[in-house]
Structures are given as structure tokens and as C-alpha cells.
Amino acid sequence: MTAKTRKLISPALRAAMLWPHTWAGVTLGGLLMLIFFMGSLAVFASEIDRWMMPATRVGAVETGPASLDHAVLPAVEKLAAGRTVRDWYVQLPDERRPVMALQLRTETGNAGGMATSDGQLLPPVGTLGGTYFFYPLHYSLHLRAGFIGYWIVCFASVAMLAGLISGVIIHARIFKDFFTFRSWGQFRRSLLDLHNLTGVLVLPFHLMITITGIVIVLPIVLPAGVQALYGGDVRRFYDDALGNYSRPRSGIAAPLAPLDPMVAEARRLWGGGEPAVVFVYNAGDAASVVRINRALRDRISLDVQPVFFDGVTGQVLKYQRPGPVVATHRVLSGLHFAAFDHWPLRWLYLLFGLSGCMLIGTGMLYWMEKRRVAHGVKPGVGWRSVAAIACGSTSGLLIATLAMMAANRLLPAGIPSRELVEVGLFFLIWIGSAVHAAVRTRTDPPWSEQCTAVALLAAACVALNWITTGEHPIRAVASADWAVLGVDVVLALTAVAAWRVSRRLAQRPDPELSTLAKVTDHA
């Protein structure tokens, strides 16, 4: 640290930053843990989908369907089952999802399904899986009305950013302690070392992922500019910025032009590349619009380069490239999305996402250990609530996630609204584990019991996948099913780690208050 920066960060500033850092962490730590953990899972959402949707384990496909008109349109007809379709879209198969995913909006409600790349509809998957449950939980908490979930997540994210910045200011000896983790001696010091280590060494990733996360939905959570220049019409802003296009139904029936020439034209405009998503708006109408998005696997930017066609004539309606600032915005968004095919980066994102969980968790634990001294034998309501939230948002969240995956393998295929039963179980078990944490917190939350539950559930998931689908690790290797194998291996590692932690915790004596009293508390 140079003399100049040392002068810039005065002891007064450092002291002033401690309060917001501490209380932002204590109050929002549980929510941030949920966001970081689900975000880490979302990096491998497709792989979790394969695990939770055994019907879609159809083996890797090299390319998408040879003909959209022959493969996709009949599947849409079948899913519509006689109802009039208003809009529909299909996500074409790729390396990570070997099936097509179709979504329809009909006059009487929505319908969706998956089909193989030659257009054969698969039986309903009966689960939301990683892509439709864990991933939306990460960015919207499944609170869609009025974007309220976006607002909550972004509020927590700004607090995270402020926490990262204030953390760097508070940390007195960043470079001297750069590599320091004293795993021996006082527990509190080990916790603080770990908190500093994950905070400082992974700081570039944490800053990047938090900022870019907000950047994606910036026009929604900070619509000041949209308010000023677009009269508050976010849709018109997106049309302008991203080159989107929409028009109302005309009410006059007209057939859809062939899709395959449109795909060929889109490829020509892109100068290569693969189509990823095909949307048909106002289907069967004279004002129908076809939108084709480009696959993102070979680039960081989230610019999907949409090409819009007239659905009746097949002529290009709009293909607009973004300006330099919007293009920058797309690159920043893409850094967060990690939609690219780059396995080393994907694993690093998972690892560092989990290191974010560690940063938040060790922060909450450190606060608990520090306050323990002030509370003595009988911790107060405040301390116990934070302890319960810390436990419920770490081991409790793991228990809920694993229980949902186990339920996914145990619930029979035919039961009505199967996916909602899974989701209900997730939330019930999560609430249950939080209540368990709150009730059982004496001098410590019930870490050991919950870690045992995590270990048993994770092991059960691996066993259940084997029993219910017949897919064991050796078969997964033989059939090159790396997605399912990867999920199973991570589950097995989780089981082993959680078991070892629970054993060690069970052997640990209760914190002795006589030694605690000796610890000088500088709060």
C-alpha cells in the first residue's frame, strides 16, 4: 500500500465503514446466500436439468433439426391439441440440452413440452428442474408480479457491492495478509482470515458478478433514463436498444411462410453461427412476426442478434445492430450469464460463486462469534435470529435443495401438478429446517445435525438416481453422459464433505464461556 492510499483511507473512514459493512451483512446475509448459491447452481442448470429430467437424457446431438418446418411445426400442432395458438417459441437443441424446448401461448392458456431433435414429443418432464426453478430463484425469487423479485435481488446486490467496497476499506493489511489463513488457534481469527481471503483473492470475480448482475436488469431497476427519454416505456427502450420488433395482431388469418429459408437468411446476415431460439408471434395472423436468435456459445456478449421476419411473406422486417454502449452492456450481461461453451470458465464460475457463499457465511459466523462474548450464557433474541438465519440459509438451503432433488426421483410420474409438489416440498423443507435451526439454537445452531441431514440426502440422491433410472457412474462414463455423471460426482463429494464436517462438529466441545470471557471484544 502506498503512502498516498494510506492517507486516503483514514482511521475515521475505516471506523465509519465498519457499521454499514457489519449490518448490511447481518441483515441481508441470508438473502445474499440464497442468491449466490442458486446462482452457482444456475451455472450448471442444464446439467441439473438432465439429472432431474431423465426422459431428456437422449444422448448428445451434433446439430439442431435439419428442417424446422418438418420437426418443429408438427410438435407445436400436437402440443396445441386443437386450440388456437397465439404465440410460440422453440429453443433448439444444443450440446448441453439435446432436446428442443417448446412453449405455446394459446387462447385458453399456456402449454409447453420437450421434443427430440427430430420432432418427437417427450412425455411431460413433471419438474421445473434447474432452468425453471433454481435459476429464476436466483434472479427473481419467483416473485414476478411488478418485478418485485428483481427489486429485492438488486437491492441486496447493491448492498453486496457496498459490502465489498467497505470491506476493502476496513481491511487494514490487505497485502500483508494477502495469503494468510491461520487455521490453528483462535476460531474467531480463523473465521476472519477465511472471510478476508475469499473476499480479497476472489474480489475481481465478486465485483464483476455483482455489478453485471444488476447491469442485466438495469433499465427495470433504475429506469431514470428510460423515464427521461422514452416516457417510462421500457418496451420501447428495448425495441430501440436491442433491435426488437413487435406489432399487434391484425385479426386477418394467414398461413405461416416456411421457416427454413428464414433460418438460412438469418445465418447469412450473421455471417455464420447457429440459430438458438425461434419465436413466432401472432401465429396464423396476417401480422405474424418470426424472430430468430443466434446461439451464444462462441462469444461472451449476450447480444443474440435477433433477426425479425414477416411471418407471411418471409421478408426481413428488422435486423439492427446495437451501438457501442449497448454492445458494451451486452458484453457485461454476457459476463454474468456465462451462456458460452467454455468448460474451464464454467467450473471457475461455480467455484467462485461458492466462494461468494463462503465469504457471506464466514462473515455471519464471525459476527456471531464476536457477539457471543457480549451475550454470555444466554444469547438474546437478536443473536439467535441471526444464528437461525445463518444456519437456515446455509445447511438449511442445502437440505431443501437436496430434498427437492430426492423428491424429484421419488414422486411418481403421473401425479397431478408434479412440478408444483416438488416446489412446495422445497419451500416446506426449507422453512422446516429454518424452524429447526431456530428451536435448536442454544450456544450454537444445530450445525452438526443439519450437516448429517445434508450428507444423508446427498448420498440418497446419488442412490435414487441409480435405482430409478439405472444410470450408475460406470454406465454414465460408458455412454459419455457427462452431465449426469458430473451432478452425481458433486452430490457424492457433498455427501462425503458434509459427513466429515458433521462428525467433527459433533466432537467439538461447547464453547467454553470462561475462555470466551477472556477474549477482548473491541466492539
Partner: protein
């Protein structure tokens, strides 16, 4: 409670600590957001006046405001007097929004 205690000494014994803490937190949350809002709105209008495409101006000013937002939020805790914090963030936000309205009327 270091920050609250320290600012308490600077501000004297006029307001109870809970109220001062509440003033800090609301300044950090709402004051900073209002300031960022003003910055994004004014920046967008300014960019449009300078000839940027509207979508470009909106995106650029919003990105800038996002970077300023957490810093402004923390500054609300660092500034010795919370009244100064509120005056700069709240007042600055109102001024910037007013300026953006004015720029909107002047511009095309």
C-alpha cells in the same frame, strides 16, 4: 455501533442515536438511489442533447449511475454529519432531476 457513536460525538446530543442511525440508513438507501436516479436521468438528457442515440445515452448514464450508487451509499455513512449527507444526496438528486426536466424541455 462504532459509526453511530462517532457521528454522535460530532453532532452533539441533539438527536437520539436510533434516529441518527435511521437517518443514516435512509440516506444510504433512498438518498443514494435518488441521487443515482438524478444522475441517470440528467446524463441521459445530456447525452441526447450531445447527439447520442437515445438508447445509447440511457445505457451509458445508467451504467455510470450504477457505479456511483454503492459509493454514494457508503459515503452517507462516512460523512461526519448526516444532515450534510442528506443535503448532498437528496438535494443533489432533486437538482439533477430538475436539470434533466429542463434539459428535456430544451432538447428536441
Amino acid at each position: 455501533m462504532k459509526a453511530a457513536g462517532r457521528s454522535g460525538r460530532v453532532e452533539g446530543r441533539a438527536a437520539p442515536p436510533r434516529l441518527r442511525t435511521a437517518a443514516r440508513v435512509t440516506a444510504a438507501v433512498f438518498g443514494a438511489y435518488g441521487f443515482a436516479w438524478g444522475l441517470a436521468a440528467f446524463g441521459a438528457e445530456l447525452g441526447a442533447l450531445a447527439g447520442m442515440a437515445p438508447a445509447e445515452a440511457v445505457t451509458a448514464s445508467s451504467l455510470l449511475a450504477l457505479v456511483v450508487l454503492p459509493v454514494a451509499s457508503l459515503w452517507a455513512f462516512a460523512v461526519p454529519r448526516v444532515t450534510v449527507g442528506w443535503a448532498v444526496l437528496g438535494g443533489g438528486g432533486v437538482l439533477l432531476i430538475a436539470a434533466s426536466q429542463f434539459a428535456g424541455m430544451v432538447g428536441p
